[in-house]
């Protein structure tokens, strides 16, 4: 039986202190400092009756940024999630050759290890009218007659920034879900197949329950990440044309570091944190409900 000794609690303090101090200095303190800033005036440093928050609700640039990021996050998450899942399933079930699998791993790793700024530069060159390869290929294959102005028109610009994210992060979804598929017992799948379950049924009833926690993880990580999208957007469009790709992070950066109103930027950031936390809670709840429903069925 475990006997508590006097040294234990001291040891606990000693062991806990470093991570706790790290969290306090790197997470809690900046957050508190940010909240304090968001409640004060950027010129005088005085308390200003939630003025920064009120201003955000009336600021059309802020609402443009919210709209832009809502579109971006929704489209990016849906495409990356579905594409990553389909790729994982197709490769897991259809590619048997070891070296071919290794080749896929390698190819999927390239976008993941590319720095976002480099990815931005790469895509900026590819999307450039007149000498970019994308227009060239589309024209060569006869898909378009006139050049598409990828980075200077609203819908194509949004498409362009989304494409970089999808290129870079779909492999991440793929890797996580692919790893999850390895945990599904092969004999259960085979038994289901023998019993006449279709491919979709096998996926829904056997593989999906195994993948669900990983899906939640992937969604949360991707959501947190796409909300912060910044690097490649600055390289590709700098938020343009107009404010079409001026996502929240880009706008907050401009307010803080170009307009030098760090207090308003802090308020906007706090609002983003609040929204992201709410989304996470909702997501978590939804997936729990789904999980509970599945358990009841079983």
């Amino acid at each position: 039986m475990y006997v508590r000794r006097r040294g234990d609690s001291l040891l606990r303090v000693v062991l806990l202190a470093p991570p706790l101090l790290f969290l306090l200095s790197m997470v809690v303190y900046p957050l508190l400092f940010g909240i304090r800033m968001s409640l004060t005036d950027y010129k005088t440093g005085q308390w200003n009756n939630f003025h920064n928050f009120v201003r955000a609700t009336q600021d059309s640039l802020f609402s443009d940024a919210v709209k832009a990021i809502a579109i971006y996050v929704t489209v990016v998450i849906v495409i990356e999630f579905l594409l990553g899942l389909v790729l994982a399933l197709v490769i897991y079930h259809n590619i048997k050759s070891g070296w071919l699998k290794a080749l896929f791993y390698f190819l999927f790793l390239i976008p993941l290890v590319t720095p976002p700024v480099a990815a931005g530069v790469l895509f900026r060159l590819m999307y450039t009218p007149s000498y970019g390869i994308i227009n060239y290929l589309l024209q060569m294959t006869g898909l378009i007659q006139k050049e598409i102005l990828w980075l200077s028109q609203p819908a194509p610009a949004m498409f362009a920034v989304i494409s970089v994210d999808v290129w870079q992060w779909t492999p991440f979804v793929f890797f996580v879900l692919f790893a999850g598929l390895q945990a599904v017992p092969k004999d259960t799948l085979e038994a289901a197949a023998v019993d006449g379950a279709s491919g979709f049924q096998r996926f829904r009833l056997i593989e999906l329950p195994y993948l669900r926690p990983l899906m939640l993880l992937v969604l949360i990580l991707r959501l947190a990440d796409t909300f912060q999208v910044f690097d490649h957007v600055m390289v590709l469009t700098q938020g343009g044309p107009g404010t079409v790709t001026q996502f929240l992070s880009v706008y907050i950066y401009k307010v803080g570091f170009k307009f030098l109103n760090l207090n308003y930027a802090a308020a906007a950031s706090i609002m983003v944190i609040a929204v992201v936390i709410l989304i996470f809670m909702a997501l978590n709840r939804l997936l729990r409900i789904a999980e509970g429903g599945e358990a009841n069925e079983a």
């Binding site: 508590r4 609690s9 028109q153 938020g239 343009g240 044309p241 170009k258 307009f259």
Partner: protein, 442 residues
């Protein structure tokens, strides 16, 4: 006992937090004072500078100064977009890191109004030099000698806070082999229509219309040319006016005569169009002429481009100023030597070496030096633009946010997201809201 340790941990956590909040909230009110008396020679001077070709000249003359004085010069380079942030954070923290800073002239109102720079006339009795264009001094004088003064700064004594190191002014470049010299913006449009040939392709103009500052800066010569202004003398925003709308219509025509996709063009893209022979006319800056049009490594039009002051609108020609200044932070411990370097680097003799090394100089005599004009064919046009004289950008620390807002709408007009009328109405509203927030209206 365990309870004791839990409490101990909680106390530790609280104390750490309180200590950290204390550090963050500590007041930093006392400005560094300038010491006087015998000045020892420092081992080194540190300059915060911009990375890229703007630093070519200064980097070329540094070894000479080091040899002359034995003082090592650390030229710390930052990309344009981060240099401003770096200087601001260094100054706010009252760090002694930099003895000299290289600053875009639009940053000076922020630095000057915050009291971060040393007054050169007051501390060193700097005397103005007739070989330096007066507008260069105006741009570094605070409070500004003309135009509206920001609230709270009206009664400060007027002083000089920086000396131009890089004479940067807008001028005009056109293919002299294809089109005659355009005297007015109507001539520019007529020229553009005449030479336009989508099959070559050759475009009559290349407009810099990327979102934010690029669009804003490019539009100034047209806006002023038609009598438009960003604000009146009381800081009331005046972008939704018939004059500005008229100028925007001309700009829209120029956009249509430009290569497709100019809504994403910054200076480099527009200069590249000129250098590759795809554009016949552009508004330009000295660095573009040096790096693109007259650079045989990238240009197919060396010797074919003619340069002049910007064409005239109904109200005249309005080149804009975008000088790089050298200024001395009040926090520097080596101000006397920093000033020594500054006056040495801007002297006539050194400026010639500086120009020959590929730097953009700042002295009248250097721009008009026949030997240099042969090597750098755009120098006389730069001098011509300086004689116009150029307009100093609005003297307010709010310039960057305002031009960003304005430039975003200018960009949206070219991209077809907003009509001219929608764009000016929204810009008027947003810029006014910004200035209200900044305390410009009582």
């Amino acid at each position: 006992m365990s309870n004791f340790h839990t409490k101990g941990l909680a106390v530790l956590v609280l104390l750490t937090l309180v200590a950290m909040m204390g550090v963050g909230c500590r007041g930093t009110a006392v400005p560094a004072t300038v010491t006087s008396g015998p000045v020892a020679k420092p081992a080194s001077l540190t300059i915060a500078g911009v990375a890229g070709n703007e630093a070519k000249g200064i980097k070329a003359i540094i070894p000479e100064y080091e040899k002359k004085t034995g003082i090592k010069i650390n030229f710390v380079e930052f990309p344009y977009s981060t240099l401003f942030e770096k200087i601001v954070t260094t100054m706010q923290a009252k760090q002694e890191t930099f003895d000299l800073i290289m600053a875009d002239d639009i940053w000076l109102p922020k630095f000057e109004s915050e009291g971060w720079l040393t007054a050169l006339d007051e501390k060193f009795n700097y005397q103005k030099d007739p070989d330096i264009f007066p507008v260069m001094y105006d741009a570094a004088t605070w409070p500004p000698p003309s135009g509206p003064i920001i609230p709270g700064e009206e009664n400060k004594p007027r002083h000089l806070y920086g000396i131009t190191i890089l004479g940067n002014v807008q001028f005009f470049a056109f293919r002299g082999d294809l089109v005659p010299k355009p005297e007015t913006w109507e001539d520019v449009i007529a020229n553009a229509k005449k030479v336009a040939d989508p099959n070559k392709p050759l475009y009559g103009f290349a407009l810099r219309a990327a979102a934010g500052e690029p669009s804003g800066m490019e539009f100034f010569p047209l806006m002023y040319g038609w009598g438009g202004r960003l604000f009146d003398d009381n800081w009331n925003v005046t972008v939704n006016t018939p004059e500005v709308i008229e100028a925007l219509k001309v700009r829209q025509q120029l956009a249509e005569l430009s290569p497709p996709g100019v809504a994403n063009y910054d200076a480099a893209e527009r200069a590249r169009e000129m250098a590759s022979g795809r554009a016949a006319q552009i508004i330009t800056w000295p660095a573009e002429a040096a790096d693109f049009m007259e650079n045989p490594e990238v240009s197919q039009v060396v010797g074919k481009v003619t340069y002049s002051a910007p064409p005239k609108g109904p109200k005249g020609s309005f080149p804009f100023l975008g000088n790089w200044m050298l200024a001395i932070p009040v926090t520097s411990k080596n101000q006397e030597w920093a000033f020594d370097f500054l006056t040495w680097a801007t002297s006539a003799e050194v400026q010639k070496t500086y120009a020959l090394a590929g730097g953009i100089p700042m002295r009248k005599s250097v721009f008009t030096d026949p030997e240099l004009a042969k090597k750098f064919p755009y120098f006389p046009a730069v001098a011509e633009a300086y004689e116009v004289p150029p307009i100093v950008l609005p003297r307010t620390p709010e310039y960057i946010p305002l031009i960003t807002i304005w430039g975003n709408h200018l960009n949206a007009m070219v991209a077809g997201i907003e009509t001219i009328e929608e764009g000016v109405a929204k810009a008027q509203e947003e810029m006014t809201a910004h200035l209200r927030e900044a305390g410009y209206y009582k």
